[in-house]
């Protein structure tokens, strides 16, 4: 089931994706809606689970995390238990921010944050490469990233 959005809904989503904490009154003023109308729009999007949660945006570099690396991981052995074991172990590593199960040249895509390259090497060697079932691994260091409004734009 997918929800039909009009231009105002898309504008509401774009605004909330930027700042989820703005009150319905402020959002309404920006988009030319009354406070109750803005509130109803937000409520409808939340009820349809279009907004699945909230995320805190922090400046990783200032907080001492200077390096973000994306890893493509291939599992050496594939079976239901090895996949479950790998997923449980990999999600428990605090430096691993994102774990995606993918279809293609790799089985998993990981986003790993570290203080610097030697810290990353430590996480990779001691925590990731030692996990059961890990086969080939490819690392790419993130230089820049940019979020786009996507189909909301």
């Amino acid at each position: 089931m997918s929800l039909d959005l009009d231009d105002i809904d898309r504008a509401v989503l774009r605004e909330l994706a930027r700042d989820a904490r703005q009150p319905a009154s402020a959002l309404g003023r920006k988009l030319g809606l009354s406070q109750p109308a803005a509130w109803r729009r937000i409520k409808r999007l939340e009820d349809a689970n279009v907004i699945s949660g909230r995320r805190v945006r922090l400046d990783a570099t200032t907080l001492g995390f200077g390096v973000t690396v994306f890893l493509g991981v291939k599992l050496a052995t594939k079976g239901r238990t090895s996949v479950a074991d790998f997923e449980r172990a990999i999600t428990a590593i605090p430096e691993v921010q994102v774990v995606q199960h993918v279809l293609g040249a790799y089985d998993y895509r990981l986003r790993v944050v570290a203080r610097d390259l030697s810290d990353f090497e430590r996480v990779l060697r001691r925590r990731i490469m030692t996990l059961p079932g890990v086969g080939e691994v490819e690392a790419n260091v993130l230089l820049t990233e940019e979020q786009r409004p996507g189909p909301l734009g």
């Binding site: 989820a20 279009v50 490819e138 993130l142």
Partner: protein, 151 residues
């Protein structure tokens, strides 16, 4: 610059982004006034950049998400810049990243279904400039996505 109180507040905020300042203060063991002042300072300093709503694209009918790993023809000067500005024009692209490594660039692409994806891939992606090689990883499931920093 950051002390333990700051880190605690940010850690609790990351684990519950909807928590009120009073709740965060309570968990971090400080008064609401202190928590409010600290968070305000962290915002001023650009450490706390904001709290964003997470959009579930599947709920909007975009059931297909593909990560396109692209190698560029780097004999062309401006290959990166021209590629990135062209990719910005494709509405289905929700993320653009550049890398140091075997992959130069990654585009995260949404589509309604496989037919739509095929169309976007052929008409909008393969026509982007300076592509030397392209590899597709289709998202099967998101196992972990909190993107929290280990503070």
């Amino acid at each position: 610059m950051l002390d333990d109180t700051d880190r605690r507040l940010l850690r609790y905020l990351q684990s519950d982004p909807s928590a009120s300042t009073a709740e965060l203060a309570d968990r971090a063991g400080v008064s609401p006034a202190v928590a409010w002042r600290r968070l305000d300072k962290l915002t001023e300093a650009g450490v706390l950049q904001g709290i964003e709503a997470v959009i579930d694209w599947r709920a909007l009918g975009f059931g297909v998400e593909v990560s396109l790993r692209i190698t560029l023809d780097k004999t062309q000067t401006n290959a990166f810049d021209e590629m990135i500005s062209a990719a910005r024009e494709v509405p289905e692209v929700i993320e653009i990243q550049t890398f140091l490594g075997r992959v130069d660039l990654r585009l995260n692409v949404l589509a309604r279904d496989m037919a739509h994806y095929t169309q976007v891939y052929r008409d909008r992606i393969l026509t982007l400039p300076h592509i030397q090689d392209i590899e597709q990883l289709m998202l099967v499931s998101m196992v972990k996505a909190d993107e929290a920093l280990p503070l």
